[in-house]
């Protein structure tokens, strides 16, 4: 059978192929990616889009958790300060109920109680990064204003709104308690109780009842405040969970699209060997023919 006397096109095609393989391997090594174009691995390319989305979502949840942590911690420590003040008020109240006190002594206690009242008002109006912590969703408005006409001495200017933030797939976390639930709930108002205690000590009547009222309000506040401790715990455990998820997502990205450098290096080296071999083979076709031998 007569063979094709011009193998050169075939040899050139083979050379081209091995050079192409070498280029592919070199690209993989230099970019560190095995999927540089969707056609390299269409399924992986599509999955990488999804993976990037998951990584982005995960990062935004983690960022939110940091922001929320700041808000919750600020609120939590403010409430601790309020409890401390209320405990001081309670001891003052007990002292004020002592029948042996002189008028000026009682007046002094009233003054101290009024200071505590101001302090609690100020604490209730705490803001964090420009937003009031205890106004519900009306975070641009201070929750409590002094109101001489109100029995509790203050008027609540906020609302009852609670903001929820998504911190995981289908996982919503409430991030605030409105002041109306903490400090001025009907029947359990810290402000009402403080005002009542001041009146009681000042007039030396019903001090014991006023102390009981304040004690009850302080306990109520304490129970409501548990919200913040719980939320902080959830923030912490969700952060841990999401950090683990972050690693997994990164690993998945690696397995989908990262170049296996040792394989790529081997591919490059063998492609270069093939290229060399092809070049040498082609050079052997030095154009010798029978004519050179017929003399």
């Amino acid at each position: 059978m007569r063979v094709n006397p011009y193998p050169m096109p075939d040899l050139m095609a083979a050379l081209n192929q091995s050079e192409l393989k070498a280029q592919q391997a070199a690209l993989e090594i230099s970019t560190g990616k095995s999927v540089n174009m969707p056609s390299d691995d269409p399924t992986a390319a599509a999955l990488l889009v999804e993976n990037n989305d998951q990584a982005t979502i995960n990062a935004s949840y983690l960022s939110d958790l940091t922001a929320i942590n700041g808000q919750l911690s600020a609120a939590d420590s403010t409430l601790n300060s309020v409890q401390t003040a209320l405990q001081q008020a309670l001891s003052l109240g007990v002292e004020g109920g002592n029948g042996t006190l002189s008028d000026s002594n009682r007046a002094a206690i009233v003054a101290q109680l009024q200071d505590i009242q101001s302090q609690v008002l100020s604490l209730a109006n705490t803001s964090y990064q420009g937003n009031y912590l205890f106004s519900g969703t009306a975070s641009g408005t201070a929750p409590y204003a002094v109101d001489g006409t109100a029995p509790s001495g203050v008027a609540y200017r906020g609302n009852d709104g609670i903001n929820q933030v998504s911190v995981g797939n289908g996982y919503q976390l409430g991030i605030n308690q409105p002041g109306s639930q903490l400090f001025s709930a009907a029947g359990n108002s810290v402000f009402q109780a403080l005002n009542d205690l001041i009146t009681a000590v000042g007039s030396n009547t019903g001090v014991a009842d006023a102390v009981t009222e304040l004690n009850s309000a302080a306990n109520y506040l304490s129970v409501q405040s548990v919200f913040y401790g719980n939320a902080l715990n959830q923030v912490q455990s969700q952060t841990t969970y999401l950090n683990a998820a972050k690693l997994q997502i990164a690993q998945q990205q690696n397995s989908l699209g990262a170049a296996d450098l040792s394989f790529a290096a081997t591919d490059l080296s063998s492609a270069q060997t093939d290229t060399q071999a092809a070049l040498e083979a082609i050079s052997k076709f030095s154009g010798n023919s029978l004519f050179d031998y017929l003399r």
Binding site: M1, N4, P5, P38, P42, A46, S60, N131, N163, S289
Partner: protein
């Protein structure tokens, strides 16, 4: 006994034929690198014998014809495979360009979508922050811009292909005109019973070039002539006449191909022209259409969520993205963020500045089936898969076609290719035969001298 003169004429015929054979070999060697050349062999036969005095004697050698060795079936296969391969290569080049739009998972439209929803998510803990709100608008702007860029690139690619179509048609016309001219020359040579092999090779070569452009079929007419037509019957060359193809701009702004007043654009099924048209009229519009779908679905869903809430000033929310045009086409190219004031993002559900209640509606768009029953990211990742898959498949098909083409060319080479070694051996052979015939003539010459000068010693001068 035919006499010495008879023997002389036999020897001369040998000489002449050997000389012709040498010339044929020499012609082969000279054309060893000519594209499409088919090697020639001399078809010799013994001369018709004559009967003299009851004895049958030979009359030397006769050159019947000089034959070009080629296989017509192989030529047909080569043409068909060239058409397929050219179409696939044309498609592959365009697809490789197209897929660069979708190359990175960390940037581009997919990443922009993720970043947009991420910016909404990060607004949630502090919904009244103007800085965080501005980030949302910036992310929305990046998304719209990347849609615009992608649509624009695809549009540019498409209009460049119109130039390619026009160029290809020009080349086709010039080739068919050349083929018709060569055909005419072949016909007149064959009518004069002369050998038209070289011209046939030339014509074959031109037809092969034409196959690289369009799907052409060779139809044998009588007297060795050929007509050319596309596979759906559009005439390209009829005898000595070539048909001219024209291009006209259609209503969609694309160049349509006309033959004799008929639009043949969609019926072209081979050659680079078919590949170019496939990409221009099918693939690119498909991808553009999907981008438009995605842009429309996203814009509408985000806008619908925003109008459910209240902005920072307590007013009802409006559109975040400019509303898509009716009919969806062109959304990707014209997508814009409709607001510049970050306070207009309607995060609030109760009218207060600090409420984030409506953000959950906006964020829900990311996981809702807002584009053809899929979430925005799913739809986009499917598009990436489609583009990558089409490119990868076309690449595989093009490689396969190239391999087949190479094999066919090898076969053609084994039949028609000139082997220098073979010609060298032949030349030695013909040279020896020539020398032998010459020797015979020399011998006869001296015999004739003897005969003429019977008995008298003479030297032949």
């Amino acid at each position: 006994m035919s006499g010495l003169f008879g023997t002389l004429s036999v020897a001369i015929s040998g000489l002449a034929v050997s000389q012709q054979e040498l010339e044929t070999s020499s012609n082969n060697v000279a054309n060893a690198n000519t594209t499409g050349y088919s090697r020639e062999v001399d078809d010799t036969e013994a001369g018709a014998p004559i009967v003299i005095n009851g004895l049958t004697v030979g009359t030397g050698v006769v050159l019947e014809k000089i034959e070009s060795l080629r296989n017509p079936i192989l030529e047909i296969q080569l043409n068909q495979t060239t058409q397929q391969q050219s179409s696939l290569n044309a498609q592959l080049t365009q697809l490789q360009q197209l897929q660069t739009q979708f190359a990175s998972s960390a940037s581009g439209i997919g990443a922009d979508i993720s970043n947009f929803f991420s910016s909404l998510q990060q607004l949630a803990p502090n919904p009244s922050s103007l800085e965080l709100r501005q980030s949302v608008l910036t992310a929305a702007g990046n998304l719209a811009t990347d849609f615009n860029t992608a649509a624009s690139s695809l549009g540019t690619q498409q209009s460049n292909l119109n130039l390619t179509v026009q160029q290809s048609v020009g080349e086709i016309n010039s080739l068919t005109s050349e083929i018709a001219g060569v055909g005419q020359q072949i016909a007149s040579l064959q009518n004069a019973h002369e050998d038209a092999s070289t011209l046939v090779d030339q014509q074959t070569n031109l037809i092969r070039q034409l196959s690289g452009l369009i799907d052409v079929q060779v139809i044998q007419t009588g007297n060795g002539g050929i007509d050319l037509a596309t596979s759906n019957g559009t005439a390209l060359v009829t005898g000595a006449q070539s048909s001219v193809l024209t291009t006209e701009t259609g209503t969609d702004g694309n160049a349509q191909i006309f033959a004799n007043g008929h639009d043949i654009t969609s019926s072209i099924s081979g050659g680079s022209l078919a590949g170019t048209i496939q990409i221009r009229d099918e693939e690119i519009p498909n991808v553009l259409g999907q981008l438009d779908q995605l842009a429309t679905g996203l814009s509408n869903a985000v806008n619908a969520a925003n109008v459910q809430g209240f902005d920072l000033n307590g007013s009802a929310g409006g559109n975040i993205f400019s509303p898509p045009p009716t009919g969806t086409t062109g959304t990707a190219a014209t997508m814009k963020v409709a607001i510049t004031d970050p306070s207009l993002i309607a995060a609030s559900s109760d009218g207060t500045a600090g409420s984030n209640g409506n953000l959950s509606n906006l964020s829900a768009v990311a996981t809702a089936s807002v584009v053809a029953g899929q979430t925005p990211i799913n739809f986009y990742s499917n598009l990436v898969f489609q583009v990558g898959n089409a490119t990868s498949n076309t690449s595989g098909d093009a490689d396969a076609a190239t391999a087949i083409l190479q094999q066919l060319q090898d076969q053609r080479g084994s039949i028609s290719g000139v082997s220098i070694d073979e010609e060298a051996a032949n030349i030695v052979q013909f040279q020896t035969a020539y020398q032998a015939s010459a020797r015979v003539i020399t011998t006869i010459d001296s015999l004739l001298a003897d005969a003429v000068n019977l008995g008298i010693e003479t030297a032949v001068q």
